[in-house]
Symmetry: C2
Subunit: 416 residues, 2 copies
């Protein structure tokens, strides 16, 4: 059976004939399938026992194009292989923080995994103001575990080079290089490439101003070059709040939190993952602020968001440094080197966070937090805040020396 | 025919049966073979027509161990494949500056190439004070051409990632990571690794002092981490004066200069290649100085060496920047980014030059320039100068802002 695109009918036939299914579902019982597909890239199916809805598996199939764009945007279905290899790494080093992988079918480009039926994608409850008090801590822990384990501090040098070979994820990296690290900053491209920015006409002046700032261009070029050349560790590569799922929080705001969708995984600069994550919290804060400046509950929610962002950095740094007390080479044991290294990651974090905030506002792929604001003027207000924070993070990132510097920039524009 | 280690008899049988030989030698004529093998790593043979010595080819075979160490130092013979792929790249972008490749036999791990009969390895004539007035210019040109063409400025992003996959050269990178970027700076290693330093007992105090300098350790850790993570371009990876061959210079000191032996090739920081090259000129200067401080000819030779080092940087920078006037993405067109980038390469150059000077003095693999000094006290004097220059280059490399800064450090210790 060669590769073919499945639908909610043929996925059932596929599952029934696949040898590993019996380890996860009772194939003697009647099974049903439903298509979920709500991300941009892939087809996603749930297959479950008709008489026991709690017994289900999730299947993701890589399509030969970007799902939301269709055949006009071809993309190799082999991205499923990058996801499989990245998920295997994450599951090894952060087992409770990702879905458990069941199998990867290289021919069909299908990843089968634990179905997180009781979880929802984090972006939606965040837009509704739901608090997950352990969000930042969990993401910080996830990042410290997965990034350290794939870095030259945690991996033997030759083994790391062999692993990196399996993550030459050129097609998906290109999406980041173009959409996050170039197009939002350049009104006109070269070499026949087309700029795909989309933006609210009410902020056209702010965008023009941004795109005329040569200091921004200089810093973005450095961040892009570092993204393309600096293979510090195996990144998730797309760690926004749509790549995180959570169960309903308990009375103390604690939830089961999982990171999903690592198909953008590649060896890159560590700060990129953390930067994307905190940027998505800041984008939500901008939206909440514009909605209702003087609403006490919203103000508390911004304080909550800033705490989660800070937690993610603090826990990441603490746990990464804890691991650095016994690295695999004497070269990495020197305290001054370790301190310098953590600051360099923090600076990258600030810079990439800035790029993400801007591209989610005026680039090709927006966030629902902002786009969901129906009043154009209110939306423009939130968008201007996002652009301002992003711009300051980009320009000031080489001088950042502690997390306080980042928080000061954000709070200076989007007050609690 | 599977892989087997050849000698000067069986290499003839190999050449006679290899289908491509007839394109380079007349196989109807009697052929002879001679083993040359004077490098550390591989077996090298010359096969020539008995009645026409000018018709010859060179064959390099990768052995399953380091040639000079024997079977106690295993090393995959597949390094020949890295050399083949690197030489192909170099020959494409700097065709007159490397030997012409004839074929690569993957089974036998043999590279056949142009035999540079009239050339000798650069280190020897340099020790005798022979001047090659176009040495620096040629190396600068070689580096600008090969490095730019494999960088993200000169290559399409996805193609570069595919090419980089073919240079996961872990075994040979490990040699550099250990011998250049760790062992000389650490008297005691961890994890069962053994320190292989060798040094003149007369400089034991200077070495102890160096190894107690925490600022050196900090900077070396950064340089090592950058070497391991920062894939800016396809480096030669071993560009010392033993990896350069030259014909006898003409009356104007002009020679035909070729870069050989790229088996250490991998994607790394651009400054590493230039740093190794200039360090080897400085090592020669230190040796010449200790030999005969007041000898006018030696003094002139040091001025010549400093000029070649400067030429290599200047020509590299000029030609690289010339290419940067039309890079493959608008991201790289911003003048401030380009200026920053060239300074960062210069800083890396200084740092890696410092590491090379130190490891060639007290590490495992020395240079004949220093080791050839028979009087131990005179040798110690030269070695102390090499350590001093190396240490200053390492410690001051993050502040270097123009080539003058490097020259000032060197001349301050090894006067003309």
């Amino acid at each position: 059976m060669g590769y073919k695109i499945l639908d909610s009918k043929s996925i059932l036939e596929y599952v029934l004939q696949y040898p590993d299914t019996k380890n996860f579902l009772d194939i003697t019982k009647p099974l049903e399938a439903a298509e979920l597909s709500d991300g941009n890239l892939n087809a996603v199916f749930r297959v479950f026992e008709k008489d026991n809805l709690a017994k289900s598996i999730l299947l993701k199939q890589g399509l030969p194009y970007l799902r939301v764009a269709g055949e006009s945007w071809p993309l190799s279905p082999e991205r499923a292989g990058f996801e499989a290899r990245a998920l295997a790494h994450e599951y090894t080093f952060a087992p409770g923080l990702v879905p458990r992988p069941y199998w990867f079918d290289e021919t069909m480009n299908i990843n089968a995994m634990e179905d997180l039926r009781d979880h929802q994608v984090m972006r939606k409850p965040m837009m509704a103001g739901v608090r997950f008090e352990n969000l930042g801590v969990t993401i910080g822990r996830f990042l410290a575990a997965t990034l350290y384990a794939s870095s030259d501090f945690g991996m033997e040098a030759k083994a790391k080079k062999q692993l990196a070979k399996r993550f030459a994820n050129g097609e998906l990296c290109e999406i980041t290089e173009d959409l996050i690290l170039m197009e939002p900053f350049e009104p006109i491209l070269v070499g026949g490439k087309e700029n795909r920015n989309r933006f609210n006409p009410l902020i056209g002046d702010a965008l023009a101003d941004l795109q005329n700032d040569t200091d921004v261009k200089r810093n973005v070029a450095h961040l892009k070059h570092k993204f393309m050349t600096c293979g510090q560790a195996l990144l998730h590569g797309d760690l926004h709040t749509g790549s995180i799922m959570a169960s309903a929080p308990d009375a103390n705001g604690q939830a089961d939190i999982r990171v999903i969708d690592p198909e953008f995984a590649f060896f890159g600069p560590i700060g990129f993952d953390i930067g994307l994550f905190i940027a998505n919290l800041f984008l939500n804060a901008a939206a909440q602020h514009a909605h209702a400046k003087d609403d006490k509950a919203r103000s508390h929610y911004r304080a909550y968001l800033y705490k989660q962002a800070r937690d993610s950095w603090t826990v990441f740094e603490t746990e990464f440094r804890e691991k650095l007390t016994s690295p695999n080479s004497i070269s990495w044991t020197h305290p001054e080197f370790q301190a310098d290294f953590m600051v360099s990651v923090l600076r990258d974090t600030a810079g990439y966070a800035g790029c993400e905030m801007i591209r989610r506002t005026v680039g090709f792929a927006h966030v629902a937090d902002l786009d969901g604001i129906t009043d154009e003027k209110v939306r423009a207000e939130a968008e201007r805040m996002a652009l301002n924070v992003g711009r300051r993070l980009i320009k000031e990132h080489p001088q950042v020396s502690s997390y306080d510097d980042i928080e000061k920039i954000v709070k200076g524009v989007i007050a609690i």
